[in-house]
Amino acid sequence: MPGKTWMCFPLRPFLLSIALPIAQPGIAGPSQPSLSIPTSPALPATASEDDGQWLMPARDYANSRYSSLAEINTSNVKNLRLSFTFSTGVTRGHEAAPLVTGDTLYLVTPYPNILYALDLARPGAPLKWKYEPKPLAASQGLACCDVVNRGASYAYGKIFFNTLDGQTIAVDAKTGKELWKTRLGNLNLGESVTMAPLVVKNKVLVGNSGGEFGVRGWLTALDANTGRIAWRAYSTGPDQDVLIGPEFKPFYPQERGTDLGVSSWPADAWKIGGGTVWGFVSYDPQLDLIYYGTANPGPWNPELRPGDNKWTAGVFARDPDTGQARWFYQWNPHDLYDYDGINENILLDLPIHGQPRKVLVHPERNGYVYVLDRGTGEVLSAEAFVHVTTTSGVDLKTGRTHEVAEKQPRTGSVVREICPAAPGGKDWQPSAWSPRTGWLYIPHQNICMDEEGLEANYIAGTPYVGANVRMYAGPGGHRGEFTAWDPVQAKPVWKIKENFPVWSGALATAGDLVFYGTMEGWFKAVSARTGELLWQFKCGSGIIGQPISYRGPDGKQYVAVLSGVGGWSGAIVAGQLDPRDGTGALGFVNAMKDLPEHTAKGGMLYVFALP
């Protein structure tokens, strides 16, 4: 089984004939996707549809990860070959997306968060400059799941990125000169920052990490020119701190009331209740709303925090100018299993039940792909994309999951076969969407767990979890899957099974290709329509990065990805953990004991092109 790839859904011909016409309304031709990609010239962080740049990790505000470049296609991809490489000098998990603007490629490494600029105009793309922020070494002790960084963002001639020790830094994109830096996180409260910032309307949006350290989650907006804090919205606490005011109109009654961020917790527990913001932020310029998920409540042991634990494990829509909340929907009220709500929200215009709707598509940790009306927060559909034992579906009337009582973790006893496990049906690894197929390409895992609830002591700056966990492969024995999902029909189209969790991001291109990497180190191109493997290349270390595609100064299409195993799933290799303790790395070690036999540490950029 290891390394093998095959299809398990024989439904392809059926869906191709039926789903395609429905999934592609409004598409006049293959070059005019129905994505709500921002096009307003007033938004400098936005690339026009085909300029071949890649200015933010998700490529566009809609979080599509779709490149309209089509030089590399299904028939010539077999000739794809290595163009150049670059060693990052860092050997922890490389989760970032490179950026490309003009003739420069930028990449930010895991801790110590070195920012490199490579000159694409010269042979071999030599180093232009590097910027070393020298984050505090102690911050490595606050990274729950390896010392990763998910990338930088380009806007207004500046590169914005975050450091593990909680700084946001703006660097001149041409010279590498530091323009400003602002410390947002407090190490001694357990705060760190791993996410990629998003730049919207002259504001840099940054959220914190540390949901396993009793951190109080927030999203902060910084002035892109000065680094000064414009607003901060907490994920727990009184309405005033959460920036909930008269504009807040959530769809479901359970999200309405005063100071729910206090009253849905035991006394004072909201102060150390989690709800961190470490995923990707989306933005709809027409509705002028940003969207982002909030992470798990803390501690993991749910018996220690009775209540719905607002506003954790949900999604906020906010006004980017003021930060004021417009609506909120909680994927997992009183989350039981560390189902962070931070997975990406892809903003699409889709026909739902025959009606064109402005939707937000979200493959959630709890195992369901949600389609929400992004104007109101109403759930339009929610169907499982993995094996789920913890809930028996989502009630579309109330918006709540039907929980399975016997799977609820309890203090002092072990609950078995919790599926999906704590990393969820899918963790941070971002999906891609192709307007040509109308399908979402979801990299994810197939992992279940046993969990024992424990008492948890809060000691600031140390973990606050209260659980023993052991994870293992779900049904079928394979630990990873790559699923093409039709969000209109709300069902899978095809699925590729992988031996290890697919912890890399996905990239879709107008060449009808989809790219992703495996933890063994295979970088793969598959047909967007059939999932057929068309090309693969074995990189030096396992791949957990976000692949991108750009047009080089020579006019050719390139595909780039960072190799460098690690992250939560790869911590056993990146942190040289001992496989004899299955509870290591919050229980992920138990499912990954054989990973060190398949890959070793190493950070390297790989860039491919046709000859």
Binding site: A137, A138, S139, Q140, G141, L142, A143, C144, E212, V414, D450, E452, L454, N457, I459, G461, T462, P463, Y464, V465, N468, R470, A571, G575, Q576, L577, D578, P579, R580, D581, G582, T583, G584, A585, L586, V589
Partner: protein
């Protein structure tokens, strides 16, 4: 003239007073033999003639079943297990393997807990009573089989201890933190 002489006398007096404050110099430094310095050796490399390794301190804790079992309880209580889990590591390095970055002797582990370590280990000095630090050190050593088997606690009922440390197969320990 009188005034000038007075100034001279005052200046001479001031110079005499400050001149008496001389820096003290020890021309022969005493050899660094204090056990406090020796016990915190973090390198196998030692210049000069070979000497026996310093005696392990607080062996009373190291061979004491009660101390090790208390150490096990405190290991969870103070959230050590939050980073090192049950020896396999995660946020912090594994403790059940044979790689000791900052030394495997009890006094090394004691110092690591008290002082913290630069890459993320918090400094617990002043936050935990000293005897508990020694108990923790004893338990940490037991994770990789460095304490006598008969002193190590029996398995607990927790999920983590389905295979207790003492019965686990392990490679022969190589203690990089102390000289042979």
């Amino acid at each position: 003239m009188k005034i000038l002489r007075g100034v001279w006398i005052a200046m001479l007096g001031a110079a005499a007073l400050t001149g008496c404050e001389r820096e003290e110099r020890n021309f022969v430094e005493p050899p660094p033999t204090s056990s406090a310095v020796e016990s915190l050796r973090l390198s196998d490399l030692r210049p000069g003639p070979s000497s026996p390794p310093p005696a392990a301190e607080n062996s009373a804790y190291q061979e004491n079943a009660y101390a090790i079992s208390e150490g096990q309880r405190l290991f969870s209580w103070y959230n050590c297990a939050g980073c090192h889990f049950h020896g396999g590591g995660g946020i912090g390095p594994p403790l059940m393997d044979d790689l000791w970055i900052y030394g495997s002797e009890p006094q090394n582990i004691h110092a690591t807990i008290i002082q913290g370590r630069p890459n993320g280990m918090p400094a617990f000095g002043g936050r935990i009573p000293d005897y508990q630090v020694w108990q923790l050190a004893a338990y940490v050593r037991s994770l990789s089989g460095l304490t006598p088997k008969d002193a190590v606690p029996a398995r607990s009922d927790h999920m983590s201890n389905e295979s207790p440390p003492t019965t686990m197969e392990k490679p022969s320990p190589k203690m990089t933190g102390s000289p042979p």
